[in-house]
């Protein structure tokens, strides 16, 4: 009754000057898309400059000198998107750009959108508006202000803020503590000239991955590769390794007060499992059982049984080997919540795990793997992750590895997971809990 789903693969089309080109072909999507990732080692002196590049480049290029002209052009191309961003995976900072457009057959006009949109993307990447040996000063200043405002606005989202603060405290002194977009004080010191130098390094020397997805024919794909390969490159390969193993001697507690209603409790753990380790997939299952989904120990015990929270979950940072448990609670329930959370953590270590928990977790992970293949963005992110750690897993081999995980495997990785930091965003004026107990 169902159409057999085709295997989702990333076909390597070319590798030139430290740029690797892949194509992920699928007819089922309405859109075509190109994603470009430039990789740099996460270091304080470059982090803010890397982070500002996408916003500066989006402000115009030789052919479309202003943001407005670019936007008008994208509207003419049926609401095409040309965008960029910056994040980190482990201690690698990733400056990314992408374009997407609806497939030609949906325009009803026989337009050739791939070439036009690729040209737009290449124009902002290759030909930014330059003056006095740097980016255009007025535009640059605005984007610097925006970056500073963006960094400051971290406090607006309390859940994310407490999560990031927990990681910062836990990893202080390590590169991973550097936020995705760098620090405010560094951003304030950026100049159009210095940042332009970093831009030139990015374009000419950062290792680069390019993914084309949708229904892109050979001719268009190779024409794009040809165009991209004209960028002069000197390969320096600035990615490095990421230290995952750390022995925690003492659990650190950090309390910060803020004028908020709900307290946010974040517990940071070191899993001591590297993404290439055979223990990695057991760790994924471990995290799923502990706090991955509605069947998890945290959701069941903190929310469903104790009614202490609306959310209680754990997430993994794959590359740095971290696990963070998060929950939003009343100030008065802090100790109670912490105790229940740590009890679940101990249960994992002691092997109090049922067959049902293991099965539900694996099934949920399997669903996740299949579902990822229905989103172009998720497919690209999956293959980038695999390529970053040099592992050749595809969706099928990842599924097989997860399927093979046993309770013993989970208990084994549990022995090495160590609590490192407990962060609490504390309401300034605690109100009485609305609990009946």
């Amino acid at each position: 009754m169902e159409t057999a789903a085709r295997k989702t693969t990333a076909e390597k089309l070319a590798e030139k000057n430290g740029i690797t080109f892949y194509r992920i072909n699928s007819e089922k999507f309405k859109t075509n898309r190109v994603d470009i990732f430039f990789l740099d080692r996460l270091e304080r002196e470059r982090a803010s400059a890397n982070a500002i590049l996408p916003s500066v480049l989006k402000r115009g290029c030789s052919k479309f000198q202003t943001q407005r002209e670019l936007e008008i052009r994208m509207e003419e191309l049926y609401g095409a998107v040309v965008d960029g961003g910056c994040n980190k995976k482990g201690e690698t900072q990733i400056v990314s750009f992408h374009m997407s457009h609806i497939a030609d057959k949906y325009t009803g006009k026989g337009d050739k959108l791939f070439d036009k949109c690729s040209q737009l993307l290449m124009c902002i990447l290759q030909n930014p508006v330059v003056e006095d040996g740097g980016f255009k000063a007025s535009v640059f200043r605005q984007e610097r202000d925006n970056l500073v405002d963006y960094i400051r606005s971290r406090i607006n989202d309390k859940m994310r803020f407490s999560f990031l603060r927990c990681i910062e405290e836990m990893c202080r002194g390590e590169a991973f503590a550097i936020p995705d977009e760098g620090y405010e004080s560094d951003a304030l010191l950026l100049t159009p000239q210095k940042t332009y130098e970093i831009y030139q390094q990015m374009i000419s020397s950062y290792p680069c991955y390019v993914y084309m997805s949708g229904s892109i024919d050979d001719e268009s794909a190779y024409r794009f590769i040809e165009q991209f390969s004209q960028i002069p490159r000197t390969d320096t390969g600035r990615t490095g390794t990421c230290e995952v193993k750390k022995n925690v001697s003492e659990v650190r507690r950090v309390d910060e007060s803020m004028d908020v209603n709900q307290g946010k409790l974040c517990l940071g753990f070191r899993t001591n499992v590297e993404p290439t380790s055979p223990d990695y997939y057991p760790l994924v299952v471990y995290n799923g059982i502990l706090g991955g989904d509605v069947h998890s120990k945290l959701f069941q015990n903190v929310r469903e049984k104790a009614s202490l929270a609306y959310y209680a979950q754990s997430v993994l940072e794959k590359y740095k080997g971290l696990m963070i448990i998060m929950s939003g609670i009343e100030h008065a329930n802090r100790d109670k919540a912490e105790k229940i959370i740590l009890r679940q953590f101990e249960d994992m270590r002691e092997g109090n795990i049922t067959r049902e928990e293991l099965d539900a977790t694996k099934k949920s992970l399997m669903t996740g793997i299949k579902t990822m293949q229905d989103s172009q963005g998720a497919i690209v992110d999956f293959f980038l992750s695999q390529h970053l750690i040099g592992e050749g897993d595809d969706f099928e081999s990842m599924a097989r590895k997860i399927e093979a995980v046993t309770i013993d495997d989970v208990v084994r990785v549990a022995q090495n997971v160590q609590l490192d930091t407990i962060y609490f965003l504390k309401p300034d004026n605690p109100q009485p809990a609305h609990q009946d107990e």
């Binding site: 859109t31 407005r68 509605v294």
Partner: protein, 424 residues
């Protein structure tokens, strides 16, 4: 075999299957060949604004704020345990949401679709409420409410609605308040359930690579209740004037946030609603979209940043537009936008700009068809407003600059309200 209709949208490469169950329940399937993911949704035309209604015996009920959302939480509870557990044992992700006008229960899965689908249709028809499980939920929902109290965007939005609306319950927080939910009990929840969870008031939508015969046969077998019609909803009269022009709140934010809006007094349903909503979207894009002179001027001045957004919300019982984001100066931003709106109302939209934006919006619509979740939700939303999501294609064909300009002159000449969040 269930007797259903097949509608092909060749230009979109989509097929819609539509089935009328004898009980009055409507069911849709949008088939997505090649997709692993299947999304199914079972929804009732009942949301947070339905706090006054007339039961079939003629009695008018006034129920506590937040009860539709509370009921949504509680339906997961069944005699034999929590539905979340049963879905997750099959590896699927169940969830639900309550909006102003709808409550929807859904899951997405890749395997065992039929088993999941039967479970969804079953539990939504079989509430299991006890005094104890109702009490237990109050702690969880209280924390959900507290979380939103700390969410500046959410506060900004509801403060704007509080400015726009004098009487309409859309101004009330969807989850209610920590106080209002204390008044909710098992009996009231059953009253609401029995009034609104009737087949004629509900819809089933499936999106994914599944067979229509199988889907509708399951619907046929699983829907137990008989036709009970639709409950009578009571909304208070809403004047055309604003409740307030300005509201301000202080919260832990890095810089001020502003949100502005206009209340639309025109009530429509069906195709006309879709058409007006689309026209308003294009007008907003023309005035303050990324390609507009205004957006770029304010962005250059540092008055707004990338967080700036705009939106149209339209239902049979309410309609409004809103826009905003972070700003260095809420009053100045508001002033610039107000003058630009006035100027645009006077001169009308340029035809070339209108055509370009129509093209862009067509692209945005096509993109939504990549996601089974979005499709399911939009098909439901349109059905409750007596229209069809795929009719957007026709809207884009038929919409012209004259009609759009008449909407512009009618709606955008009205007063705007301003909601501001300032740093503590």
């Amino acid at each position: 075999m269930a007797d259903y209709r097949t509608i092909n949208y060749d230009r979109l490469g989509e097929t819609l299957y539509e089935y009328d169950h004898p009980s009055g329940l409507k069911a849709f399937l949008v088939r997505k060949p090649g997709y692993n993911k299947k999304t199914a949704l079972f929804a009732t035309d009942y949301g947070s604004i339905d706090n006054v209604f007339k039961k079939s015996d003629g009695q008018v009920m006034h129920v506590p704020d937040g009860i539709a959302h509370f009921l949504e939480h509680k339906l997961f509870e069944q005699k034999e345990g929590n539905m979340l557990d049963r879905f997750s044992k099959l590896g699927s992700s169940p969830n639900a949401f309550t909006s102003f006008n709808q409550t929807a229960y859904y899951f997405s899965c890749t395997d065992l679709f039929e088993e999941n689908f039967r479970m969804l249709l079953d539990y939504v028809q079989n509430p299991w409420l006890t005094d104890e499980n109702v009490e237990k939920e109050k702690g969880i929902i209280a924390q959900e409410i507290r979380m939103y109290e700390d969410d500046p965007d959410w506060r900004l939005y509801f403060n704007l609605l509080g400015c726009l609306y004098v009487n309409h319950p859309i101004k009330i927080d969807i989850a209610g308040t920590v106080e209002s939910i204390q008044r909710i009990n098992k009996e009231l929840l059953y009253e609401c359930y029995n009034a609104f969870y009737t087949p004629g008031n509900m819809v089933v939508v499936v999106a994914g690579d599944v067979d229509p015969d199988r889907v509708f046969t399951i619907v046929d077998n699983m829907i137990k209740s008989k036709d009970k019609g639709r409950p009578e909803k009571h909304y208070p009269d809403e004047p055309e004037t604003l409740n307030a022009e300005y509201r301000e709140q202080k919260l832990q934010v890095s810089m001020p946030l502003f949100s502005m809006g206009i209340k639309d007094p025109v009530r429509l349903s069906g195709y006309e609603l879709l058409k007006r909503r689309t026209a308003i979207g294009i007008i907003l894009a023309a005035i303050m979209g990324r390609s507009s002179e205004l957006f770029n001027r304010m962005y250059y001045e540092g008055l707004i940043n990338d967080s700036f957004q705009f939106d149209v919300s339209m239902d049979q019982s309410y309609g409004f537009v809103n826009w905003g984001g972070q700003t260095t100066d809420p009053e100045k931003a508001a002033q610039e936008i107000r003058s630009e709106i006035t100027a645009t109302v006077e001169r009308g939209l340029d035809e070339a700009v209108f055509e370009r934006l129509k093209k862009a919006h067509t692209g945005v619509f096509i993109r939504t068809l990549n996601s089974t979740d979005i499709i399911a939700r939009e098909v439901m939303d349109c059905y409750f407003n007596r229209t069809n999501y795929f009719d957007l294609c026709r809207v884009f064909d038929e919409l012209d600059v004259n009609y759009t300009n008449s909407v512009l002159r009618d709606l955008f000449a009205r007063k705007t309200a301003l909601s501001v969040i300032k740093p503590v």
